[in-house]
């Protein structure tokens, strides 16, 4: 355990958010148990009013999770000096690999909480609360996810012992290391580039087709493709985009681009990627809800916007991340 202000802030904040989410889930359960839309009783009215509390808590929790992901990366970057051999955030994360799970959990929480909020917005547009069961069942899962996030983060920080000699980006992402991270960077650049741009093109084509046609299959395909795109893009970040941004042939760290030294280029890159993927996931996830008559019209309306936003964000992402590849001085000849 390292008593560090950033760690303290993260633990305290996540603890508060987790407790609030637990409270929200308990409220959600009581809504599920007592919900009777046909009744005009006081009790039903109180339950309806409780939905406001829950959606408020989730909105705050989502805001917190987004910021806490950034703070987590910063903090991990800040403490790398305490580990022998760690030169950036990756090094600190390797000092206790549970840290990676915490990061994955945070990304999952981001997507699921955002989805929940979209679900909630949609539900509020209809006059008969059509999604109440779905929403509050999903709430329990989000709470569990946030619980995992909190647990992994605690395990990570508690388990950090600064003596461990960690491998940093240099060695973790150098091609000799085994494990996923090593495999990612050992993927040779050309095929990875090909895969990345191919995925982007396929995604774009699917999304554009989706805007023209109403086929359900296309919507599921777009959602699936966005998830694939997320994975491929993250792999591409590690494999070659980072190299072009840092202009170093062996520096594969996906976090350093948040730093001032690289003009904070990481923020627009990751924000556009995550937003693009999020809006890409929406059409497929909401396709089954079209069965509900009071929602059908609203989903069809919003779908166009989502697809457009998704295409736009992904375009921004691809432009930003390809800029140094296309226009940078750095070339990968011989690597």
């Amino acid at each position: 355990m390292i008593l560090h202000p950033g760690i303290l802030a993260l633990i305290v904040g996540s603890c508060i958010v987790f407790v609030m989410m637990l409270y929200a889930s308990v409220q959600g359960m009581s809504i599920l148990a007592g919900w009777d839309f046909q009744s005009s009783s006081e009790k039903q009215l109180n339950l309806e009013r409780r939905t406001y509390l829950i959606s408020t808590i989730i909105k705050y929790a989502l805001g917190f999770e987004v910021l806490s992901t950034l703070l987590f990366i910063y903090t991990v970057d800040d403490i790398h000096t305490l580990f022998v051999g760690a030169m950036c955030a990756t090094g600190s994360l390797n000092a206790n690999p549970v840290g990676w799970y915490a990061l994955y959990a945070k990304i999952l929480v981001f997507f699921s909480a955002s989805l929940w909020i979209m679900l909630n917005n949609l539900d509020q547009k209809a006059e008969d609360f059509p999604l109440i069961r779905l929403k509050y069942t999903a709430l329990v899962f989000i709470t569990i996810l946030i619980g995992f996030d909190f647990y992994f983060m605690m395990r990570y920080f508690l388990g950090l012992s600064p003596e461990v000699i960690t491998s940093c980006c240099g060695s973790l992402f150098s091609s000799t290391t085994a494990g996923i991270a090593g495999e990612l960077s050992s993927l040779s650049v050309r095929p990875m580039m090909g895969l990345f741009y191919a995925t982007v093109v396929v995604f774009m084509v699917a999304a554009l087709l989706c805007m023209k046609s109403t086929a359900a299959v296309l919507r599921y395909a777009v959602s699936l493709l966005s998830i694939v795109l997320l994975c491929v893009s993250l792999a591409a970040m590690v494999s070659f985009i980072s190299l072009y941004i840092y202009e170093l042939p062996s520096h594969h760290c996906p976090f350093d681009i948040f730093q001032k030294h690289y003009h904070f280029i990481g923020y627009p890159i990751y924000i556009s990627l995550f937003c693009g993927v999020f809006f890409g996931i929406l059409p497929g996830s909401f396709q089954p809800l079209k069965k509900i008559s009071s929602l059908r019209e609203k989903i069809v309306q919003s779908e166009k916007h989502w697809l457009l936003l998704s295409i736009l964000f992904i375009l921004i992402f691809v432009t930003l991340s390809s800029w140094p590849v296309v226009f940078g001085d750095f070339t990968m000849q011989g690597y």
């Binding site: 390292i2 008593l3 305490l82 022998v84 012992s161 600064p162 003596e163 461990v164 000699i165």
Partner: protein, 106 residues
């Protein structure tokens, strides 16, 4: 109807003051990095200093990096560590490198 404008104005003003303070801080840092820091490094180099002269009350608080791990309990094995600065100083073993593991007290 202008309260929000006043508020936004005041907030902007506060942010500006903060920015000015930070810019001032930045300049001070740069200025000192140019003049004082090299001079201090010179002192460190020639006098072979290893520690900051902050807490002079006990040996291990004056030279935390040079103190051995028993320093706070040096008088005899059960003596309690009692210097105020000692209570806010980190236990030294958290930076013991792996090479010196056998020396740890537990």
């Amino acid at each position: 109807m202008i309260k929000h404008k006043v508020f936004l104005g005041v907030t902007l003003l506060e942010i500006t003051i903060l920015l000015i303070l930070f810019v001032y801080g930045h300049f001070t840092v740069t200025a000192r990095a140019g003049s004082e820091v090299p001079a201090k490094r010179e002192l460190v180099k020639y006098l072979k200093l290893t520690d900051l002269s902050l807490w002079t009350e006990a040996r291990y608080t004056r030279h935390p990096s040079q103190a051995d791990i028993f320093a706070p309990f040096q008088d005899f094995p059960c003596s309690l560590e009692h210097f105020p600065a000692g209570s806010i100083i980190a236990p030294e073993n958290i930076v013991l490198p792996a090479t010196r593991k056998p020396e740890r007290p537990h």
